[in-house]
């Protein structure tokens, strides 16, 4: 994944709370392979009216693809586990999402893909929104080394779990990292398999004659 260190640029703001994954990307589009790109599917139904025309009042329709930040409300990304909800944001050009809270699975999916979920306290969030709304054109900076969002002379702190932060900073491939512990995994599997022989491999009760 692309490392995240410092990113600078403008933000788009959506005021709604509880934006769910079905809004981020309706389920009917998820058969598309990732390599074909997901950016055009972001908020596919919300950004259009019933006749299929782009709604000029929907903030994402003002997104040129160049603004790297999206400011949203609380409980962002609730609903399904679809990682496509992260792909649509990334492929549309977003690098970080700023919210007061994220749904658990969405947050994990974002971290694993290098999309930074920035969670601010309610007070800091309101201050940032006020500063953004006053000068929406102004550039912000998000620095992962310092774990802060900067807008003009203001700065607000956030935290990311340390191992996740290191992964984001380096763009590390987690599977390769985990497999450096392969001996410990194998040892565990042998011990655990011996203690619960019914649970795995040849010890599994059923055969192909089931049903």
């Amino acid at each position: 994944m692309t490392p995240f260190t410092t990113v600078e640029g403008q933000a788009i703001r959506l005021i709604e709370n509880n934006i769910d994954t079905d809004q981020l990307i309706p389920a009917r589009f998820m058969s598309r392979p990732r390599k074909n790109g997901y950016g055009d599917l972001l908020f596919y139904d919300l950004r259009r009216d019933a006749g299929g025309t782009f709604r000029p009042d929907f903030p994402i329709n003002q997104h040129s693809g160049k603004e790297p930040f999206l400011i949203v409300g609380e409980n962002f990304g609730c609903g399904s586990s679809r990682e496509a909800a992260v792909y649509v944001l990334q492929d549309a050009g977003f690098r970080a999402i700023i919210a007061t809270s994220f749904a658990d699975i969405f947050r994990n999916n974002a971290l694993k893909n290098g999309l930074l979920p920035v969670e601010l306290s309610k007070t800091d969030y309101e201050a940032l929104c006020a500063a953004h709304d006053a000068y929406p054109e102004r550039s912000m900076q998000i620095k992962l080394h310092e774990q802060c969002v900067t807008l003009g002379t203001d700065s607000w702190a956030f935290t990311i779990a340390e191992t996740s932060r290191q992964m984001l900073l380096t763009g590390m491939d987690e599977i390769s990292y985990t497999l450096t512990h392969i001996d410990k995994i194998t040892d565990f599997e042998i011990r655990y398999g011996a203690a619960t022989p019914w649970g795995h491999g040849s010890g599994l009760g059923a055969s192909d004659s089931v049903g």
Partner: protein, 463 residues
């Protein structure tokens, strides 16, 4: 020894190593479906193999067409390609997958427990948020995204930080026609869809003990709609009776050895929970959602909120502020899904439908082919069909609208499913979540009604 919660016990049995703020956990069961294609693509690109084909089980559910009389209905080439892709991945990686024609096919969270694959004390993951369902059997089960699915495929492990624990105690007795679905919606009404974010919920109390296993699955399933990735209920005698003899459950003498471990899983007295919520089960009414989030929910006897913040959801749903939800016309109805597609759900619907006729189209998609067969054997299917319902094949169908089944734009659907998000059942669709009995009642009246006011038949199900 420090008292531990059930999750702490399962956690310590699966911990391989620690790495700062997180632990590497071994995964017992990894369930995959057609939607897991992103993860298979990822490991293919990296040239990684599937580490444990014996711990990986696949099933076609999300994209499966369910109309057996016209199998091609709604299914386009894209949908068929998704089903084929799962079969190809299963064959090239050497794991067992149940395709649309397999008798073991069904919705992943219905068929895998039914087969005895999910067992107490296991860690169970799947690229689907409703994996929480399996917690009903005392497993630590949660949904993951494609990157984590790829990680499990390649390593059979996951990095996790210990969740905060919430104890949700339900005492008292649920009233007549009040189901686990109503209880789940009642809890969501109280705590909101973000109310349990960052937590795992352990359900306990007399009303939870009184639930049968299928009801427990309904409750654990809806845990994700409270914001928690995982819900769990300690295994008890009911759990063990339900599991014994299932195809993949251990046989004796393994069964006896397994039992000793399972009985020791329950949270110790005095174990630490970060939060505790107590609910009086006798206060739960039949619940119906009015808006576009599971937290937009109320007892069927209530009126649509007149608050300003409800304005957008009201407009989308075509409702007036202060309008009564009872008496609201519906266009169609659906019973099925990993939440409410089990035999007891169909029986509850049949009890309402017996001797009546539906006024609006009612589609019923059983949770698995086994549920379908049992409904045929017990006569439940005949009752459903006699009432004019379409008794279809098993799949996710109208819960998620990926298999070609859709609710048309502007149409109103009474649904036994789990999410009423905008467009969930198709662009512009309007979903009202409720229990299967409430859906059946709405289908026969053509309007949302309180099922408690209807005479219902007795439909016996051997559990």
């Amino acid at each position: 020894m420090t008292p531990r919660t059930i999750i702490e016990k399962i956690w310590s049995r699966h911990r391989i190593l620690s790495d700062g703020d997180r632990d590497l956990l071994f995964v017992d069961r990894h369930y995959v479906h057609e939607g897991s294609h992103h993860a298979f693509d990822k490991i293919a690109q990296m040239g990684r193999a599937l580490r444990r084909p014996d711990a990986t089980f696949g099933v076609a559910d999300h994209y499966v067409p369910v109309h057996q009389k016209s199998p091609g209905k709604g299914a386009n080439a894209d949908i068929l390609r998704m089903i084929e892709q799962l079969a190809q991945n299963a064959s090239s990686h050497g794991f067992l997958a149940f395709g649309p024609k397999d008798k073991r096919q069904g919705i992943v969270h219905v068929t895998m427990p039914e087969l005895g694959l999910t067992l107490p004390g296991m860690i169970v993951v799947c690229g689907d948020s409703h994996t929480a369902t399996h917690g009903a059997l005392g497993a630590f089960a949660f949904g993951i995204g494609a990157s984590e699915v790829a990680h499990v495929l390649a390593t059979q492990t996951l990095w996790q930080a210990p969740p905060a624990m919430m104890k949700l105690v339900v005492e008292g007795k649920l009233g007549r026609h009040i189901t686990a679905k109503d209880l789940a919606l009642h809890i969501i009404c109280m705590i909101g869809t973000g109310g349990a974010t960052g937590h795992t919920i352990e359900y306990a109390g007399s009303a939870i003990s009184a639930l049968d296993i299928e009801e427990r699955m309904t409750l654990c399933n809806m845990t994700i709609e409270m914001g928690a990735r995982s819900g769990i209920i300690a295994p008890d005698d009911k759990t063990l009776r339900w599991l014994e003899g299932r195809p993949y459950a251990p046989d004796r003498p393994d069964w006896d050895a397994a039992l000793a471990g399972w009985r020791a899983l329950a949270s110790d007295p005095g174990a630490h929970f970060h939060r505790e919520v107590v609910i009086d089960g006798s206060e739960v009414a039949p619940m119906v959602t009015w808006g576009t989030s599971p937290q937009d929910v109320m007892p069927v006897t209530d009126c649509v909120p007149a608050t300003a913040e409800a304005c957008e959801a009201r407009a989308y749903m075509g409702l007036m502020d202060g309008q009564r939800i009872e008496g609201l016309s519906i266009d169609q109805a659906f019973i099925g899904s990993c939440t409410n597609g089990r035999l007891s759900d169909l029986a509850a619907a049949a009890a309402v439908l017996a001797g009546r006729e539906v006024r609006v189209p009612l589609l019923i998609s059983p949770g698995s082919q086994k549920v379908r067969a049992q409904a045929e054997e017990t006569g439940i299917a005949d009752i459903l069909r006699s009432a004019g319902a379409i008794f279809a094949d098993s799949g996710c169908s109208l819960c998620v609208g990926m298999n070609g089944d859709r609710v048309p734009s502007g149409a109103r659907c009474a649904s036994s499913t789990n999410r009423n998000f905008r467009g969930r059942q198709g662009p512009g669709s309007r979903t009202h979540l409720m229990s299967p009995a409430m859906v059946a009642a709405a289908a026969v009246k053509g309007v949302i009604v309180d099922v408690r006011n209807l005479d219902t038949a007795t439909v016996e199900v051997v559990k």
